[in-house]
């Protein structure tokens, strides 16, 4: 059974800068992988590239059986990405956002059990449903985005620092969710700076430094940060 993600010497450019300068990554279906590396190493870029949002200009890149260099779009419906930004319309209420994105991303209907459960699970039902997303707190935006992911439950999850901004309670919810995902055989790739957490997840840790996959540098080794040329 072929891997969910296979990258070989993949290169991605942001402007003219090689944010990814040769990444090798192989993730088996149902595997949980944590990316870690110094700021600016290219974790976010890597996740966006896997989602087909950043073109891979060199090397090999296959996601869910689709070659990203040929076709960046076919894999997307089966991918969920939680990035630094929430992807919600500031002028729509939580409820309206959920309704629209469920429609758009082929998730279950908004009034289905899956959606209502997900919203309740992340504590964004009730009063919050009527609040305009532009007014939400950082963590609440995260919660809504995660609720949408939970409701959609795609095959490949790409989570960019998912814990950032989540309170203790939501962090527990997240851990439960990842456990369920693992049980359900969902492939999950997480970018995180929280080593303790990564270990507690029992995930395979992949180190990224200066746009290339390598051994995870020790903190001391990073004293001279990687991105200072």
């Amino acid at each position: 059974m072929d891997p969910a993600v296979r990258l070989r010497a993949a290169v991605c450019l942001l402007g003219r800068f090689p944010a990814l300068a040769g990444v090798d990554l192989e993730v088996a279906p149902g595997e949980l992988v944590v990316l870690r590396g110094p700021n600016g190493a290219g974790k976010s870029t890597l996740l966006r590239a896997l989602a087909g949002l950043v073109p891979v200009v060199d090397g090999e890149a296959v996601v869910l059986g689709h070659d990203l260099r040929v076709d960046r779009r076919s894999a997307r419906p089966r991918i969920g990405l939680i990035g630094h930004a929430s992807g919600l319309y500031d002028d729509l209420t939580v409820a309206d956002n959920v309704r629209f994105w469920c429609r758009a991303s082929g998730a279950p209907a908004v009034d289905s059990a899956a959606v209502t459960d997900a919203l309740a699970l992340w504590g964004v039902a009730g009063r919050l449903a009527g609040v305009v997303c532009g007014r939400l707190s950082a963590g609440q935006r995260r919660r809504v985005a995660l609720a949408l992911l939970t409701a959609r439950w795609p095959d490949l999850w790409l989570l960019d620092e998912p814990r950032a901004g989540l309170d203790a309670d939501a962090q527990v919810t997240l851990d439960d969710l990842l456990a369920r995902a693992r049980a359900a055989g969902t492939t999950v790739i997480v970018a995180s700076h929280d080593d303790g957490w990564a270990e507690s997840l029992g995930a395979r840790v992949v180190g990224i430094v200066a746009g290339t996959t390598g051994s995870v540098p020790a903190v001391s080794a990073q004293r001279e940060p990687a991105h200072v040329a």
Binding site: A51, G52, L53, L88, L92, W101, A104, S105, V132
Partner: protein, 226 residues
């Protein structure tokens, strides 16, 4: 495609209902433009009445720019463009939806502006049938074109300025054609014009169809880059 289009249009119109940009800002803006024309074209020489149709459509055009900017800025919210691309929603649907929303706002705008012109410039409306036909076609064309260019500049961080630059010249044919038809309808027919109303109307129609097709084809690729 169509269901997506409706969803998107509904979404945009709901946002409009909440933020009231079109009604509380674009519309007054257009009226202000009409008044400014009044100032600029020293009324004593009284071109206003005669130039009314041209000014009307020019005001519409400028208002469309604002409407399109607003429509584009809706999609530029944090991470929204990415979410849109990831969602796998049919880009053609998105295009049609957003164009539809803009068109709806435009119709309202044109009606009010019409009254504005009648009152401010003292033209007396006639040939309504013709006017409606022209306005209809022009509206579709402008909505489609502005939506396309909105997507074109959507990705860049200089939307406010780039959109008018690209859209206005492209929309010039609509400006002429609509102006000529309106002249005709208002009885101010240009003597000896080699082309009749029919040709102008068909020009409007061609423009609309052209940009609709263009949008349906190009919107996907353009979203990719946004």
């Amino acid at each position: 495609m169509w269901r997506d289009a409706l969803a998107v249009a509904a979404k945009d119109l709901r946002i409009e209902r909440r933020s009231r940009v079109a009604t509380h800002q674009v519309l007054p803006f257009a009226l202000v433009i009409l008044v400014l024309f009044g100032f600029a074209l020293d009324p004593d020489r009284g071109f206003l009445a005669r130039a009314a149709s041209g000014l009307y459509w020019l005001a519409v055009l400028l208002a469309v720019v604002l409407a399109a900017q607003r429509a584009a800025s809706i999609e530029s919210g944090d991470g929204v463009a990415d979410a849109m691309r990831l969602s796998g929603i049919d880009p053609a649907g998105v295009f049609l939806g957003k164009a539809l929303a803009v068109a709806v706002e435009l119709v309202a705008l044109e009606v009010v502006l019409g009254f504005g012109v009648v009152v401010l410039y003292g033209v007396d409306p006639s040939g309504l049938g013709l006017l409606v036909a022209a306005a209809g076609l022009a509206t579709v064309g402008l909505a489609a074109a502005s939506t396309v260019y909105g997507a074109l500049v959507g990705g860049t961080r200089v939307r406010e300025t780039l959109l008018p630059l690209l859209f206005l010249p492209a929309a010039a044919p609509v400006l002429i054609a609509a102006t000529r038809v309106t002249d005709e309808a208002l009885g101010g027919a240009v003597v000896g014009a080699s082309v009749g109303v029919g040709d102008w109307l068909s020009l409007l129609g061609v423009f609309a169809v052209l940009y609709l097709c263009f949008g349906v084809l190009a919107y996907g690729p353009l979203l990719e880059d946004a």
